[in-house]
């Protein structure tokens, strides 16, 4: 099976090989398209990661609040709901079902709907980690915060969360790598990201092996970059003498 890498230098309309591999003006090559697809994967993933971190932190925190059984129940319900429905089904829910039930959502661009689906799906997992991180701290930390007269918000902000986030950097790292992998599911609603590119261009050029290889390598690079960024954060945020606990295997 001979590889033909020139396929990426071809113009997407005429199929002629373009010198320099990048198209000029309004003509694009498959290489231009590949990078645009990577851009979609990266922007969907990063935006969803922000949504997941914000919502996941809020849900994770309210599950550990003292004396608020209803908030805790809401948090637990949230996690069960988003964890027990497959991501692909959730994407269909956001893309087809919710706009039909809530008319104003019909005007939402697909990008937003996919980001919400992927972000909230991941928020349940991050909420679990945030909760585990807070519970991993000795109870005395909470009491110490109370004893010096902090309000609940203050002792979460200044005492519990700074240490809890440090503990959960390793699982947050793998969840952030997961979000890049999970963004592949967006192909099902025709977001022009890498997997959609693989399907469409693989067929169009009849060179699926080269196309899949390029896409696979870009996914691996994205995951590696995220991994390095978190490793850097972990190193910068390290508190001398404080050893963070490891976590179990599994998950996707």
């Amino acid at each position: 099976m001979a590889m033909d890498w020139m396929v990426f230098c071809k113009d997407t309309l005429s199929g002629d090989v373009v010198a320099g591999c990048f198209g000029k003006g309004r003509d694009i090559t498959y290489l231009d398209w590949l990078f645009s697809a990577w851009g979609w994967t990266v922007s969907v993933s990063l935006t969803a990661l922000v949504v997941a971190l914000v919502v996941g932190s809020i849900i994770g925190v309210i599950r550990t609040l003292p004396n608020s059984p209803w908030l805790t129940r809401f948090g637990n319900g949230w996690v069960e709901l988003f964890r027990n429905i497959p991501l692909l089904v959730q994407i269909f829910l956001w893309y087809f079902v919710l706009p039909a039930l809530v008319p104003p959502m019909k005007n939402f661009p697909p990008f937003i709907l996919v980001v919400l689906a992927l972000g909230l799906f991941t928020s349940a997992r991050i909420a679990e980690q945030v909760r585990a991180g807070i519970l991993a701290l000795p109870k005395g930390q909470r009491y110490a915060g109370m004893a010096v007269g902090f309000t609940t918000v203050q002792y979460y902000r200044y005492v519990l969360l700074p240490m809890a986030y440090r503990i959960i950097i390793p699982p947050l790292t793998s969840e952030s790598m997961n979000i890049f992998k999970n963004s592949a599911v967006a192909f099902a609603v025709s977001i022009p990201e890498l997997t959609q590119y693989a399907l469409q261009v693989g067929e169009e050029t009849a060179r699926p092996i080269e196309v899949y290889l390029a896409v696979t390598v870009l996914y691996a690079i994205s995951a590696l970059v995220i991994n390095r960024i978190f490793a850097w954060i972990e190193k910068r945020a390290r508190v001398p003498g404080f050893v963070a606990a490891g976590t179990g295997a599994g998950g996707h």
Partner: protein, 222 residues
């Protein structure tokens, strides 16, 4: 605006569209769990063998599988398996092969953690009573590792069950596809997507409740 019509949900719809898909999703989950744990344990043993020529290829395999989205792995296998065996293969067979190969990588990490959780003394004790490597693994180490990791293995199986919906990418007829086909046939896609959501939720939630109660049982025994 809420004009949902669930009257299409009756036994004939379930019989004609859903059962076939549900059966495939369950079968795929069961076969991939069994195959994944079998090959995953082999991979874990290779990685813990201390032999570079066994460890390195196993580590490479596991790391590659874990860094690629499952959808891409499904597409890769659907493309490559027919090329390798020289004849076309159905989406369903391709899905089974893919999930065994993919899950083996994840299960191997779980089994590796499980084997490493067994104190070294157990290995030495096995050797001291004259067991071979195979006997030691089969009779002493793996049963304990398996038991220690049972909750994680089961949780992975629930994730696996949810992931089977991704065979959508190659058009295999699974639970989700069953609901989708029914929705198209009756012109009621919104309702059938909602039914699919409820079905997946009920199955996954019940399974995770089972895992929770097993967790509690194991905790008491320890």
């Amino acid at each position: 605006m809420l004009n949902l019509d669930f009257s299409i949900l009756n036994w004939s719809l379930i019989q004609n569209f859903i059962l076939k898909g549900l059966w495939f999703s369950i079968l795929l989950t069961a076969v991939a769990t069994a195959g994944g744990i079998f090959f995953g344990t082999l991979l874990a043993l290779m990685r813990l063998s201390g032999q570079k020529w066994l460890d390195a290829p196993a580590a490479l395999y596991v790391n590659v599988m874990r860094s690629v989205p499952l959808v891409m792995v499904i597409l890769w296998f659907f493309l490559l398996v027919p090329l390798l065996i020289g004849r076309p293969i159905g989406a369903e067979y391709s899905a089974v092969v893919t999930f065994i190969a993919f899950e083996a990588a994840y299960f191997s990490e779980i089994m590796r953690a499980g084997i490493q959780s067994i104190p070294r003394g157990q290995v030495f004790a096995g050797q001291a009573v004259g067991m071979t490597y195979g006997q030691n693994m089969r009779l002493v180490i793996l049963p304990q590792a398996f038991r220690n990791m049972l909750p994680v293995l089961l949780t992975q199986t629930i994730i696996l069950f949810q992931d089977t919906s991704l065979v959508y990418a190659i058009g295999a007829y699974d639970l989700l596809k069953g609901f989708e086909t029914a929705g198209k046939n009756f012109g009621r896609p919104i309702e059938t997507y909602l039914m699919a959501t409820v079905t997946y939720f009920v199955i996954s939630y019940s399974l995770s409740s089972v895992v929770k109660s097993i967790n509690r049982k194991i905790a008491i025994i320890r």
